[in-house]
């Protein structure tokens, strides 16, 4: 018992009284005004569908993954969406490993409701074969640091991850045309999810029996708040969800005031998310252009280098040679469900080949543009013979 006391976070009476008295004068201890958010930073990982969001000191990671499953019987042509939360013990001394606590479940439910009930994610586009195969989208939210207001941060992480996730393209193939063929992302460009609108959660904390209200409470403010309310709205002003689980009662006028504030904040946050996603997509497209002529996924941090005209021709010939050799050795029939084997092999071989041959050839999109310089005929021929190569999209 003593060890648990030693490891928990304690708040002093002095802090509690001070924060409450300062709030009665509309002063917050970090200098913000009661309706201001902390600094929001949205970053993305290398893979599609991974986001990292920081709101002040609160830090959440969102990961989206997809799997093909059988649909529910009562909704045979809709995909499924599931939210999972993980409250890592490193985020807060109060988080225990193992089964999610009450707040973890509430957070998951709140984000799920905001996305599902408002039909933000299009479920019917996730259907592949009605009644047999649909996409099951899973969003994992990992809480890394609890600096207060996990709900808003986790919601933004989920949205950012969903907006950047790409699901592999599927077609029907096989002997009877009923089997699902999942194409490798290197072969066919994966597709983004269809998101109709962005439900943004805005959390309010109430103090002094409903007299004072703040937006985006910090960890200390959350420890002494009397009640909390979360309103999920989109930038059009539609209310997607409202949650107030216990705590001090507040009057109707306060609630309508909060909803109006939430509408303003939702517009602001939506534009921030959109900007972050747009810059991610641009960077991703640039990476694809590099990959188009390098046939390998380079590091973005590698410096661009100038590629001379004859170098392209030489390299293309060299590549064509290599691929001819490879194909005679290891060509394999495409398997029905799964990634075509030889494509993977080619890519692996490419990587080895490129790396050891010349560090100078890592195509820089700023210096090489497929339309300004003519593509040598050997290069075109090689891309036609071997459909496994990444075709221009």
């Amino acid at each position: 018992m003593e060890q648990r006391l030693a490891n928990t976070w304690h708040m002093t009476i002095n802090e509690k009284k001070f924060i409450e008295s300062a709030l009665s004068k509309n002063i917050r201890v970090d200098g913000r005004s009661p309706v201001d958010y902390r600094q929001l930073t949205i970053k993305f990982g290398r893979e599609d569908g991974s986001s990292e969001v920081q709101l002040g000191e609160t830090h959440v990671i969102g990961l989206v993954s997809g799997q093909i499953v059988q649909p529910y019987r009562d909704r045979p042509n809709e995909g499924t969406l599931a939210i999972f939360t993980e409250f890592s013990p490193m985020a807060d001394p109060a988080f225990e490993p193992g089964r999610p606590g009450e707040f973890a479940i509430e957070l998951g439910r709140l984000i799920d409701r905001g996305l599902r009930e408002s039909r933000a994610v299009d479920m019917e586009s996730l259907c592949i074969v009605a009644g047999k195969s649909v996409w099951a989208i899973r969003v994992d939210l990992h809480i890394l640091d609890n600096g207060g207001n996990l709900i808003d941060t986790a919601n933004i992480a989920a949205l950012a991850a969903l907006l950047t996730y790409r699901k592999p393209e599927c077609t029907l193939g096989g002997e009877n045309g009923q089997d699902v063929v999942v194409h490798d992302p290197e072969v066919r460009e994966p597709l983004p999810l269809i998101i109709h609108h962005m439900p943004v959660a805005v959390t309010f904390a109430f103090f002094n029996e409903g007299d004072a209200m703040v937006i985006d409470p910090t960890h200390k403010e959350e420890a002494i708040m009397g009640g909390r309310m979360t309103a999920t709205l989109n930038s059009n002003g539609d209310v997607c969800a409202v949650q107030k689980a216990g705590g001090d009662g507040v009057s109707l006028s306060v609630i309508t005031h909060c909803l109006r504030l939430a509408a303003l904040k939702a517009v602001d946050i939506t534009s921030k998310i959109k900007n972050a996603v747009d810059s991610y997509n641009t960077a991703r497209a640039l990476r694809k252009v590099k990959r188009h002529n390098a046939l390998v996924a380079p590091d973005i941090t590698v410096p661009d280098s100038v590629m001379k005209g004859n170098q392209i021709g030489q390299l293309a010939e060299h590549q064509a040679q290599k691929f001819k050799e490879e194909s005679t050795k290891t060509f394999d029939t495409e398997t029905v469900v799964g990634i075509p084997k030889e494509t993977v092999l080619f890519n692996k071989k490419n990587i080895n080949f490129i790396r050891k041959d010349s560090d100078s050839f890592i195509g820089g999109p700023s210096n090489w543009d497929p339309y300004s310089q003519s593509i040598p005929p050997t290069f075109v021929r090689s891309s036609q013979i071997f459909p496994g190569l990444h075709s221009s999209s």
Partner: protein
């Protein structure tokens, strides 16, 4: 003797240098009374570093390591801020940001006897002195100085407390007065700095308290002139903020918690 990994070095060459755990500091000038301070451990004739920090030396025989951490390692005669978290018949249980709770005997107050035990609630903030600090046992505290007088120890009323690193606390306590504190009118606020990284501030208005606490938190990695500039910026912003109702301040620093819009 796992410290053998690093080559033995001359003590003098390491003064004011950063050392890492395991570095052996040998060839000490032969002194009768070696005073080993925090962060160092004496092993026969070798001094081993236990933490990452700067090796300091004071003539004729004092050696210690200066490091900055978020957790506190109790050492005797340190003055720190503790939070009461419990009580048993003999001691108050006090949290001091170390690995185990500290014990404050209920009689360790000026004129304290079993009959007049002070009423300290859970969550009270105390300014205390470390009396015993051995590895493995709970540290012991006292609210009196060595002669038994109160000397400003005891519970702190009102004000606001915040956490920082031990390095920042030491910087604030150094002489001459730290620039960030110098920049404020020293008559207009009270401050108590605990060597365990806890700082308590009180002033006449809440906005003053908020200003001081944010300035201190932001000053950890700034130089003297940067600190002075930062405080000036914050005070100006507060003046303009008081006349409007929106807007707040950004300080470009690692530990800044005051945010701003243009």
């Amino acid at each position: 003797m796992d410290g053998q990994l690093s080559a033995p070095t001359q003590a003098t060459s390491l003064f004011d240098q950063t050392v890492i755990p395991g570095d052996i500091i040998v060839d000490l000038p032969s002194v009768a009374n070696l005073r080993v301070g925090s962060g160092l451990r004496q092993d026969c004739f070798e001094l081993l570093a236990m933490k990452v920090g700067t090796l300091r030396y004071k003539k004729p025989n004092k050696y210690w390591l200066e490091s900055s951490h978020k957790r506190y390692d109790p050492s005797v005669e340190d003055t720190i801020l503790g939070i009461v978290v419990g009580r048993n018949s003999e001691n108050f249980l006090v949290d001091i940001k170390s690995s185990s709770l500290a014990l404050l005997p209920v009689v360790a107050f000026e004129g304290g006897t079993k009959k007049n035990i002070p009423k300290l609630e859970i969550g009270s903030l105390l300014y205390v002195r470390v009396v015993k600090a051995n590895h493995g046992t709970n540290p012991e505290l006292s609210c009196t100085d060595a002669s038994g007088k109160a000397a400003q120890f005891g519970p702190l009323k009102e004000g606001y407390m915040f956490d920082s690193s031990t390095g920042l606390a030491r910087m604030l306590l150094s002489t001459p007065t730290c620039p960030v504190l110098q920049a404020f009118d020293l008559q207009r606020f009270k401050i108590v700095i605990g060597l365990n990284g806890r700082i308590w501030v009180n002033a006449s208005t809440p906005s003053m308290v908020v200003l001081i606490s944010n300035a201190i938190m932001a000053s950890e990695f700034l130089s003297a002139s940067q600190q002075a500039n930062m405080v000036k910026e914050l005070t100006d912003q507060l003046q303009t903020r008081c006349s409007r109702t929106v807007g707040f301040i950004t300080v470009n620093s690692k530990s800044a918690v005051v945010n701003s819009t243009s």
